[in-house]
Symmetry: C2
Subunit: 318 residues, 2 copies
């Protein structure tokens, strides 16, 4: 494994041909923005490139999709963006595992599984790192590339709300907006951060009604489980974005949200309001992630057991 | 009335002595950040300055308050920041009306009531304009000034979410963060945009449960009325910040939120999701504001009449 600099990565990309770009399962704005901006950059250079993801890209990201059809071809080069662990290739792991030539990522938990790695743990988003790579390559941005990068940066920072949004993040964002002042960033943000389906609003109401407070109100537990999905009519797969409720009550340090994509499969999102490292807590439960936003999975247990296991670990940190 | 440039305003401020700084009633992050940063700048110059507001500053802004006690003195100069209309001085209007020497504002609806006006309708926040003024004055920022300006810019843009956040907004923000990297901007944002009291969450639940959809779902109407306050235990005065619910459902163009700070007094917040000018709509009802966020007041009418009047005006815009 070789760690690359921004400049080395720029040189590396110029020499790639016929690229398959892998992004993580349950794709979010950052990996989608990263993958499709990189595809667009390769196409600008006259090269073939294709983005691959184990799960479908949610329709709210349609505006980031290329207008030109995607063609099939055998890859000569395999690159992953925003993927900290090959497990996150999901159903594509058996095909691409152990074969990634270059990984571009910003997760401090990256397992360095690729032959070459550009890892910037201080970057707010993989798209922030890619912004610098494209600049180093001398790429002239298109509107689509600008929208991809803005979307990745905005979504991974909670619209510039979290601690990962720093002076650089705002500077690169400013430069993107200066070059493309007519993109409707406000409508992108509305779509990413504000708009909810009526079902999702109904689900939110139910989750608020049943929110649990533990540890003197320092821990909240929100159940985004099958019963909530049934009552609200929301597909369990669409419950991904609802982790933000748990940190709303004043005084909360750790917010826990338990989704149940399949009956009995519990996916826990752990969020830190201030300085508690929830990545370390989730690691104790076999999971991982960022310092302030991590997750783990539990199965073969009851809801009461889920609660017990979570609170046992969480209490050690308070 | 004379319109001033940034540079002329900088010169003007250098020559002010014993300043009363007026901000608008129902103070928000922008006018508080503007007023208290200006006070801090005067104090750096060894001058006396005092911020005056008809309403108390909410405790969540305590971190912006000066550490030095505020002294009483007769003003030699009266300045207003972020106040588009003398009416917004509230109970202070009889004392200060017609006497403002300098108004620094960014509302396109500013009535130009002051002798000198620095008006930047394209600035995202009064704090964005003041940032430029302080730079032109050659002021060396303190942490308090940086926090005031950041708070004003962040709150008036919905944390960089709205269309008023542009390349300049992000550039100035980047410059502030570069100079003061250790300020916990994430905690400011959490306090401003995320944290809610348990009562407020309860109120939100009730408002979601009773949200009305009109005009094929293009208009929502949220009642933040006395009954909601009673059931949730939230003080009607603390219902100011809850206008964001109305624009959440997908497909909404105009979101209406009706607060009732006193029984029978209806304060309407009108929000535009995309391009409808709600300032013009509110003007038809005796109100005003920004293009995408405006308001008006109704009294001596029933809730049914409030709904009727609002929908009659709103329908003309769809």
């Amino acid at each position: 494994m070789k760690q690359l600099t921004i400049e080395q990565t720029a040189d590396y990309l110029k020499n790639c041909e016929d690229v398959h770009i892998l992004i993580h399962r349950s794709p979010d704005g950052d990996c989608i923005g990263a993958g499709y901006s990189l595809q667009a950059v390769f196409r600008l250079l006259g090269k073939r490139a294709k983005v691959l993801c184990a799960d479908p890209i949610p329709p709210r990201f349609d505006y980031l999709m290329p207008k030109e059809p995607e063609e099939d071809f055998a890859p000569k080069c395999i690159i992953s963006t925003d993927v900290s662990d090959e497990k996150l290739f999901g159903s594509l792991e058996p095909i691409y595992g152990g074969k990634v030539e270059l990984c571009i990522d910003h997760h401090v938990s990256n397992l360095l599984y690729a032959q070459n790695v550009l890892l910037e743990p201080n970057a707010a988003a993989a798209c922030e790192t890619l912004y610098k790579v494209y600049r180093a390559m001398g790429i002239r941005f298109t509107e689509q590339i600008a929208m991809c990068l803005y979307t990745g940066i905005a979504t991974d920072t909670g619209c510039f709300k979290y601690s990962n949004a720093n002076a650089d993040t705002h500077m690169y964002t400013s430069e993107i907006m200066r070059e493309f002042p007519d993109i409707r960033y406000d409508l992108i943000n509305r779509e990413m951060f504000t708009v909810k389906s009526r079902g999702a609003l109904q689900a939110e109401m139910l989750m608020l009604a049943n929110m649990e407070y533990h540890c003197d109100g320092k821990v909240t537990l929100v159940w985004a489980t099958q019963d909530v999905c049934l009552k609200s009519g929301v597909d369990p797969k669409d419950m991904e974005g609802i982790t933000s409720i748990s940190l709303q009550p004043e005084g909360v340090e750790i917010g826990l949200t338990v989704r149940e994509p399949e009956p009995g499969l519990y996916k826990v999102s752990m969020r830190s309001a201030k300085d508690i490292n929830v990545s370390a807590l989730c690691a104790q439960l076999g999971g991982g992630g960022h310092i302030k936003a991590a997750g783990c999975t539990m199965t073969d247990c009851t809801r009461d057991e889920v609660r017990e296991r979570l609170l046992a670990v969480v209490r050690t940190a308070l």
